[in-house]
C-alpha cells in the first residue's frame, strides 16, 4: 500500500496547525507599562522612563555628568565620570512622571513613582533624599493609593495627581497631606490642566471635568462620548511665539478666558471642542482612536489618530477639515509638533514624517526602526546651535533618543554608539 502521499499530507497539515498553534500561543504580551517622558531643564533633556530618570545634554546627546561645587566632574574610585541619573532600583520604582521642584529656588524635587510613592530627590546631587535634601540609600516616602502613568502638575500650593484607578488627588505641596480628592468613574490617564483658578481634566470614563482647584468642588462635567487618554489642551487664540511643545503653564500665563476653548481627542474617534462653561461646541470624526494631544497653532488644530492619519482642522470654522493625510504607517500616539513650515509626526513603528503645513503633503521621511509612543520634545536654538532640535524617544533603552534638526537632519543618538 502506498502511504507516502497521505502521510506527507498529514505531516504538512500537522505542521501548519502547529505553526498556527505556536503563533497564537506565543503572541508577545507587553511586560512594560508606559513610555518615556521628556522635559527640557536648563538645556538638558530630563528623561523619565521605567526604572530611571536621567539627564542628557540637549546639544550633544551625551549623558550629563555630575559636578562638584567647583564645577569639576565627579568620578568614581576608578576614575569613571559619574553620570546624572536617579535609579529606581534603590526604591524599587518605575517612573513615568517627571520630578516636580518643590520651589524654584531649591534643588529639592518631588518624584512620584508608578505605584504612588512620593519621594524627595536632590537634583543637584542626583540622589533620593530626605525632605531637607540629604542623600540617603533608603529614602522615606509618602504613599498614596493609585498608579501614576502620566505627568503630574503643580502650582505654588498643591500637587495634582491624576490616578489611573479613579481619583484626582490634590496634596499640599509642603506637607504632602491630602487637600482634597475627586472620584471619577474610570480613572485619569492624562495630565490635568490648570487654567486660572480651575483644574480641567478628562477621564477614561468619557467625562471632562472642571473643578475648583482650591477645594476640588466640581463646577461642571460633560460627556465626551469616549475615553480620553491624552491630555486635553486649552487654546485662547494667542498666536504661537515658538514651537515649544509644552502644555500651558499653570498660573504664570495670562489667558484670555473669554476666548478660550478646550480640545480633546477621544477613543470614540472624535476631536471635541468644549467651551469654558462645559458645552460641546463642535465634534470632528476621525478614522480611529485619538490618543495624542492636539496642537493648535494660529487657529489651526493639528492632530493624529491611531490609524496613522494626520488632520488639520480650522478652530475658527467649527473644526472644519482643512486637510488630512493618511501616512500609511502604524498608529500615531505622539502629539504632532508644528514648526514654521511643517507638521512633524512620528508613528508607533518609528517613522518620522515632515508634512507641509499648507496641504499635508509628506516632504521628508526618516525611519527610527524602534517603537515610538512618547511625545516629541522641541529644543529651542542656542547661541552655539542656531537651529532648534526635535527630540524623539523610543521605548528601546539602547536607542532611547534621536535628535533631528527641524529640517530633518539627524544630529545625535542617545546612548551614543560606542
Amino acid at each position: 500500500m502506498n502511504t507516502s502521499k497521505p502521510s506527507a499530507r498529514l505531516t504538512l497539515l500537522t505542521l501548519a496547525l502547529l505553526i498556527l498553534f505556536i503563533g497564537v500561543g506565543c503572541v508577545p504580551t507587553r511586560l512594560g507599562t508606559a513610555w518615556p517622558s521628556l522635559r527640557l531643564v536648563n538645556n538638558n533633556i530630563l528623561v523619565t522612563y521605567n526604572d530611571r530618570i536621567l539627564l542628557v545634554d540637549a546639544g550633544t546627546g551625551r549623558p550629563v555628568q555630575l559636578t562638584d561645587s567647583n564645577g569639576r566632574v565627579r568620578t568614581t574610585q576608578d576614575g569613571t565620570p559619574v553620570r546624572w541619573e536617579l535609579l529606581g532600583q534603590a526604591t524599587q520604582s518605575q517612573f513615568f512622571a517627571s520630578p516636580i521642584l518643590v520651589d524654584d529656588s531649591s534643588d529639592i524635587s518631588l518624584v512620584v513613582d508608578y505605584h504612588g510613592k512620593i519621594f524627595n530627590a536632590n537634583l543637584a546631587e542626583a540622589c533620593f533624599s530626605t525632605p531637607s535634601g540629604s542623600c540617603v540609600d533608603n529614602p522615606p516616602f509618602t504613599a498614596i493609593v493609585g498608579k501614576v502613568y502620566t505627568e503630574i502638575i503643580a502650582d505654588a500650593e498643591r500637587l495634582y495627581l491624576p490616578l489611573s484607578e479613579h481619583d484626582v488627588l490634590a496634596l499640599d505641596k509642603a506637607s504632602l497631606t491630602e487637600d482634597w480628592r475627586f472620584k471619577t468613574q474610570r480613572g485619569v490617564w492624562s495630565t490635568p490642566l490648570l487654567v486660572g483658578e480651575n483644574l480641567y481634566f478628562a477621564e477614561m470614563g468619557h467625562a471632562f471635568y472642571s473643578l475648583n482647584a482650591a477645594n476640588g468642588n466640581m463646577r461642571w462635567q460633560v460627556d465626551l462620548g469616549g475615553a480620553v487618554a491624552a491630555s486635553p489642551i486649552f487654546y485662547d487664540g494667542t498666536p504661537a511665539t515658538d514651537y515649544a511643545d509644552d502644555m500651558p503653564k499653570p498660573t504664570d500665563v495670562a489667558y484670555d478666558l473669554d476666548n478660550g476653548r478646550f480640545y480633546a481627542g477621544t477613543f470614540g474617534r472624535t476631536i471635541v471642542q468644549i467651551s469654558m462653561d462645559g458645552a460641546i461646541e463642535n465634534v470632528f470624526n476621525t478614522n480611529d482612536w485619538v490618543w495624542s494631544s492636539p496642537k493648535v497653532v494660529d487657529g489651526i488644530l493639528y492632530t493624529a489618530d491611531l490609524s496613522g492619519t494626520v488632520y488639520a482642522l480650522d478652530t475658527n470654522d467649527n473644526l472644519s477639515l482643512i486637510w488630512k493625510q493618511d501616512t500609511q504607517t502604524t498608529g500615531i500616539r505622539a502629539r504632532p509638533m508644528v514648526t514654521q513650515d511643517s507638521v512633524i509626526v512620528v508613528s508607533q513603528n518609528g517613522v518620522v514624517l515632515w508634512l507641509s503645513r499648507a496641504d499635508g503633503s509628506i516632504t521628508l521621511r526618516q525611519e527610527l526602526n524602534e517603537e515610538t509612543l512618547s511625545d516629541m520634545l522641541y529644543v529651542p536654538p542656542t547661541e552655539s546651535r542656531p537651529e532648534g532640535l526635535v527630540v524623539i524617544s523610543t521605548i528601546n533603552p539602547n536607542r532611547l533618543l534621536f535628535a533631528f534638526t527641524v529640517q530633518g537632519q539627524q544630529v545625535w543618538l542617545y546612548p551614543p554608539a560606542s
Partner: protein, 318 residues
C-alpha cells in the same frame, strides 16, 4: 495570521460586554460557553476517533507481536488495518490541534480585552472591528472587588478561591472525561491508565499554578471552560462520573474461573459488552461495543503467550 483569530474574538467579547450591561465576567462566561459549543463537532470527532483507536488496540498489539523487529512491515500492516477499519490514526489529534489555537485565542482575547496599562491599551487599539464598540473601552475590570487584570495573590484574600476552583474543575474534568483504560490481560495495571492518573494530578497542579500567576480574568475563563467541557461530555453521554467515587464504567480485569485454560477476561458493565470467547478455541469474536472494552481480552492465554514468545526467533525480539 494571529490577528485573524484574535481580532474577531476581541470584537465579539466587546459586543457581549456591550450587550450584557457591561458585565465582563458574564461576557467571558457566555463567550467561553459559545466557543466550547462551536467546537463541539470537533470534540465529538475527537472522541469517536479515540474510541475507534481504542477498539483497534488489541489488533495493534497483535501486529506488534507479529512484526516485532520489522518496522516496515509493521507500519504497512498498521496502515492496512487502519484502512480496513476506516480509521485515521491522527483523527484524534487533528481536532485537538484545531481546538487548541481557538482556546489559546480565547485566553489571549481576555488578556487583551482587559487592557489596564497604556501599553496594553495601545495593543487593543485597532482590534475592535466595529467602530460603534469603541465607546465601551476601557472595559471595566473590577468585579466583586477584584481587579480582573491582576493575579489572585495581589487581589483581596477571597480571590484565592479562584485557583482552588480552577484546580478542582480541572481535576474533575480530566477525571470524568478522559476514558479509563482497562487493566492488562494479565491483570497488571495498564500503563496508560497510570499515565492518565498522573496527568490528572499534574494538570491540576499546573493549572493551579497558572491561576496563581495569571490574572483573575483568566481563572474565570478556566473555571467556565472546564465546567462547560464537563457538561458537554455529560450531555454526550461520554462523562464517567462514577470514576469520582471509584465506580468506573470500566471494570477491572478478573480471572475467569472454571474455564480450565487460565483465560483472562475484562468485563464491562455499561455499554461495553464483554468480549466473547469461544471456549477452548481461542478464537476472537468481534466486539459489540467499543467504549471501555478490550475486545481481545481473554483471547490469548498466558500459556499461549509464553509459548509464542519461546517460538519467536531471538533476532526478532529486539
Amino acid at each position: 495570521m494571529f490577528d485573524l483569530i484574535l481580532n474577531p474574538f476581541i470584537t465579539i467579547l466587546a459586543l457581549f460586554y456591550s450587550v450584557f450591561a457591561q458585565n465582563i465576567v458574564l461576557s467571558i462566561a457566555v463567550f467561553t460557553v459559545l466557543v466550547r459549543l462551536a467546537t463541539s463537532p470537533l470534540l465529538l470527532q475527537q472522541h469517536r476517533s479515540t474510541a475507534k483507536m481504542q477498539e483497534l488496540q488489541p489488533k495493534m498489539k497483535k501486529l506488534q507481536e507479529k512484526y516485532k523487529g520489522d518496522r516496515e512491515k509493521l507500519s504497512q500492516a498498521q496502515m492496512e488495518m487502519y484502512r480496513e477499519a476506516g480509521v485515521n490514526p491522527l483523527g484524534g489529534c487533528l481536532p485537538l490541534l484545531v481546538q487548541l489555537p481557538v482556546f489559546l485565542a480565547m485566553y489571549q482575547t481576555i488578556i487583551h480585552a482587559l487592557a489596564n496599562t497604556p501599553y496594553q491599551l495601545i495593543d487593543l487599539s485597532g482590534r475592535i472591528l466595529f467602530p460603534g464598540l469603541d465607546n465601551i473601552v476601557p472595559i471595566q475590570n473590577i468585579w466583586a472587588g477584584m481587579d480582573l487584570t491582576l493575579p489572585p495573590t495581589i487581589n483581596p484574600t477571597y480571590a484565592l478561591i479562584l485557583p482552588l476552583l480552577v484546580m478542582v474543575t480541572q481535576w474533575v474534568s480530566y477525571k470524568v472525561t478522559v476514558p479509563e483504560m482497562p487493566p492488562n490481560e494479565d491483570g497488571t495495571p495498564n500503563q496508560m491508565a497510570q499515565t492518565t492518573k498522573t496527568m490528572a494530578n499534574v494538570m491540576m497542579v499546573m493549572f493551579g499554578f497558572f491561576s496563581l500567576s495569571f490574572s483573575v480574568g483568566i481563572s474565570i475563563y478556566f473555571v467556565v471552560s472546564n465546567t462547560t467541557g464537563m457538561v458537554q461530555y455529560t450531555l454526550l453521554g461520554k462523562a464517567d462520573w462514577g470514576k469520582l467515587i471509584g465506580k468506573s464504567k470500566v471494570k477491572p480485569a478478573t480471572i475467569t474461573a472454571g474455564s480450565g485454560d487460565g483465560k483472562l477476561s475484562t468485563a464491562s458493565k455499561v455499554k461495553a459488552s464483554p468480549a466473547t470467547v469461544k471456549s477452548g478455541g481461542g478464537k476472537l469474536a468481534s466486539p459489540t461495543d467499543v467504549r471501555g472494552a478490550n475486545p481481545l481480552s481473554g483471547a490469548v492465554s498466558k500459556t499461549e503467550k509464553r509459548k509464542n514468545n519461546k517460538m519467536r526467533p531471538r533476532s526478532q525480539t529486539n
